[in-house]
């Protein structure tokens, strides 16, 4: 493989990391049956605040911590409004996404275009020496490795632990979850907050890792919506989510490269990644794959179905009252 290509893939992995973290955060939240629609604004606000905190304290750790807290706080508002005040999650999320985005622009003014700290690059010894793969995946900063670990951990948590069963059940059939002794609304609080904190960390990943700093025309504006789409594309499964994020980022890069070489209306080109995503989704949700799945040995079928599912958690966006 040519060096140019490997370098390009390396930078795609680095640039996609925030998207991966945010999508996994949202996946966790939605699996519990709550939908956090504030992603786009939350990311902006967390990116700004994370950078500001890191810049002031000269510590990226503090920056990431502040960003996580912002994301968690926004998520907490959604959970509280949905569960306690019985408001509509979608409406609240929508209002919050606009509010937080404006807040980020307004409060971020003093920090525009000033230099600040950045998470240092840290190639993993041995692993980064593997030809090609090492450079693509293991020559990054800690944020990127965290995103890998996050995907693995969230997958293991969901499908291999007792808590994971409860998490999924709460999003599928809260009545049944309640009957099995799960505290439905408590679980929803926890996972909404965790998911929100991850969205905040994703914000910090933009402003402290991908492109350090805070800018007047924030480059990550819009990525929150993309993350929401990737969760759907990813079928609420961590593996497919990370795959979807990389796929999308790669397509976006290809389109960006094409723009300089071919003469084609820019707006149409920009829709290309979305069209391809929709096509893939249609393939996944058609009956063909289910038929193929039935051919597999019984034990593999479950894993396969988990990965291939295209239905949202059945109880997403609904309220749960005991009676």
């Amino acid at each position: 493989m040519s060096d140019a290509l490997v370098n390009s893939l390396n930078s795609i992995v680095a640039a996609t990391t925030p998207l991966v973290i945010a999508s996994i955060g949202e996946t966790i939240t939605e699996r519990a049956g709550v939908i956090n629609l504030s992603l786009n604004g939350s990311i902006l606000l967390a990116a700004m605040a994370g950078f500001a905190a890191a810049q002031t304290s000269n510590s990226v750790i503090i920056g990431i911590g502040v960003a996580a807290m912002i994301g968690a706080a926004v998520a907490l508002i959604i959970a509280f409004a949905a569960i306690e005040l019985r408001r509509d999650q979608v409406a609240i999320g929508f209002v919050l996404t606009i509010l937080t985005a404006d807040l980020a622009t307004f409060l971020g003014k003093p920090y525009v275009n000033i230099p600040g700290p950045r998470i240092p690059n840290m190639p993993i010894p041995l692993l980064s020496d593997i030809p090609v793969v090492g450079r693509i995946f293991f020559d990054h900063d800690l944020m990127v490795y965290f995103s890998f670990a996050l995907v693995l951990m969230s997958w293991y948590w969901m499908f291999h632990t007792r808590y994971g069963l409860a998490l999924r059940a709460v999003g599928e059939n809260p009545q049944a979850a309640f009957a099995r002794g799960t505290k439905v609304n408590y679980q929803r609080y926890i996972y909404t907050i965790i998911g929100g904190a991850l969205v905040g960390v994703a914000g910090a990943a933009y402003s402290l890792s991908v492109k350090a700093g805070w800018f007047a025309n924030a480059p990550m504006d819009g990525d929150g919506w993309i993350a929401l789409a990737i969760v759907i594309f990813g079928g609420w499964h961590p593996f497919r989510v990370i795959l979807g994020a990389y796929l999308f980022a790669a397509l976006r890069r290809i389109v960006a490269d094409l723009q300089s070489t071919v003469d084609f209306p820019l707006v149409l080109l920009n829709t290309l990644p979305w069209i391809l995503m929709i096509l893939t989704l249609m393939m996944v949700s058609s009956g063909t794959l289910e038929r193929l799945t039935r051919l597999l040995p019984a034990r593999l079928q479950r894993q396969f179905r988990n990965v291939l599912r295209s239905d949202p958690p059945a109880a997403i966006g609904t309220r749960f009252d005991k009676n």
Binding site: R162, R168, A169, N173, Q175, F178, A179
Partner: protein, 484 residues
């Protein structure tokens, strides 16, 4: 177990009124009562799904206090809901494990062995890796029973467990329940509307009427005595004369139709339905009745062959087209396919009857009120549908059927109805003069109301042109696949 002065009100409705009763271990106790009598409410209180307004529950001579189903299970009380409360997206194994206590990590291997062992003990065929959404109702019940046994319950409550399952599956269930009572000294509480079942299985019966405990009877007794205790009067079964004249027009015609779905295959259907004819479909769950009915209603497209409605070729057309030609379908999964949770009765009516863009709510409201009176529904126009008792939901579903349909395709139309209500629904259905295709697990019902009977076995069909020529036990044989 002892209940002392249990009260429960829902607004104006006194669903349980001062109920005191004692249940002994090692016995199967039947809970009888008409629709809306308060049976499910009482069972849910015992199993911790909802709190009583007042009253006490005593176990082994001590009052106990629990607040949720999980607590109840730790006291040894488990309940199988009218519609099994499980998680469709989980595999059988995951459903079995979920709710058990243990470490953070799942031990799939041990749990799998436990599940398989319990399945073998009761002859249940459950594959640990199948998603629960692909199981039949009977299998989901079996899974719930096994799950509760795995949790060590000593009191098992079943709310109308036989409404969605076939005769053979029922027999298996009853054998299981008898064994649990006798061998493991469990207390089994069985809510049922089928008096035959109660007579066959129970050692003792209690009867509720309008929220009150009105009777208690030891077995053996007779059906007539039970009916009298339930309704305070004897009920005559309707006598039905065949209304079929030799040259009534054909309203629905299937020619060389081939249906296929998953493992099931019905190769060659040649079948015609005449105006006003009533056809009963018998057979085990999943033998093809569901497929056949959905094909009649245009919900499933045939692989080959043609479907005509009133002479018009509607092969491959949408359900909407069939609907316009007067073919109406009502599914057995009440809340899954037929009714919309969270919508009120009036909204259901409006959805069905209001044709204009702007809904005339006053008219819809009045019409709902009339349907409620006509179908004797216990509920108000503004109640959300899930606040009604199971049987009353079924009445609403029947009340939604239009008056002048050509053909009604009804999946288990009297599922969950008490004897009196079932008879009443049939009265209403038969006065509509529509042709009817219906399925039922109740062979007496099939024999009583059908002009013709079709028995399904693994995708094969046997048409019985004159029900008077066969007996219930013949039907039982056919259902088992013995077609000769």
């Amino acid at each position: 177990m002892q209940l002392k002065n249990i009260h429960k009100r829902f607004g104006q409705v006194h669903a349980n009124n001062n109920i005191s009763v004692t249940f002994h271990p090692g016995r199967v106790i039947g809970i009888l009562g008409e629709n809306g009598a308060g049976k499910s409410t009482l069972m849910k209180i015992i199993a911790g799904y909802q709190p009583a307004d007042s009253g006490e529950i005593w176990l082994d001579g001590r009052p106990v206090n629990y607040h949720d189903p999980r607590d109840a299970i730790s006291h040894g009380i488990g309940m199988l809901q009218q519609d099994p409360l499980d998680i469709g997206a989980f595999s059988v194994l995951e459903n079995f494990v979920y709710g058990q206590s243990g470490g953070i990590l799942l031990n799939r291997k041990t749990s799998r062995q436990q599940l398989i062992a319990l399945c073998q003990q009761f002859n249940f065929e459950l594959d640990p890796d199948t998603p629960v959404s692909q199981l039949s109702i009977a299998q989901r019940q079996q899974l719930e029973i096994i799950r509760l046994l795995g949790l060590g319950v000593k009191v098992l409550i079943l709310d109308e467990p036989t409404t969605g399952i076939s005769a053979a599956q029922k027999e298996q269930l009853f054998n299981t329940l008898k064994r649990l009572a006798k061998e493991q000294n469990m207390t089994i509480l069985l809510v049922s509307h089928k008096l035959e079942d109660v007579l066959a299985l129970c050692d003792e019966v209690i009867v509720l009427r309008a929220g009150q405990l009105v009777g208690d009877m030891q077995m053996p007794t007779t059906k007539a005595a039970l009916v009298e205790l339930m309704f305070g009067a004897q009920i005559q079964p309707v006598k039905r004369e065949s209304r079929l004249q030799p040259n009534t027009p054909i309203v629905l015609d299937m020619q060389q139709v081939h249906l296929h779905d998953g493992r099931l295959d019905i190769p060659q259907i040649n079948f015609s339905l005449r105006a006003g004819e009533v056809i009963g479909l018998a057979g085990l769950d999943g033998s093809g009745q569901a497929l056949f009915m959905r094909a009649c209603a245009g919900l499933i497209k045939p692989h080959a062959g043609r479907v005509f409605v009133k002479g018009q070729d509607l092969t491959g057309q949408s359900y909407h087209q069939f609907n316009r030609s007067g073919v109406i379908f009502a599914a057995s999964g009440r809340l899954e396919e037929g009714l919309i949770a969270d919508m009120t009765l009036t909204e259901h009516i409006a959805l069905m009857y209001e044709q204009n863009t702007w809904i005339n709510w006053r008219r819809a409201h009045q019409f709902t009120q009339r349907q409620i009176e006509r179908f004797n529904v216990r509920g108000k126009p503004d109640d959300p549908i899930q606040a009604l008792s199971g049987g009353n939901q079924q009445r609403v579903l029947m009340g939604l059927l239009p008056e002048n349909a050509t053909a009604l395709i009804l999946e288990q139309p009297t599922r969950g109805l008490d004897v009196d209500s079932a008879r009443w629904i049939w009265d209403q259905l038969l006065t509509k003069n529509s042709a009817i295709i219906y399925s039922s697990a109740d062979l007496d019902e099939i024999m009583t109301y059908s002009d013709r009977i079709i028995v399904f076995y693994a995708g094969r069909m046997k048409v019985i042109d004159d029900p008077h020529q066969v007996t219930v036990s013949d039907l039982g044989h056919y259902i088992g696949g013995d077609f000769s």
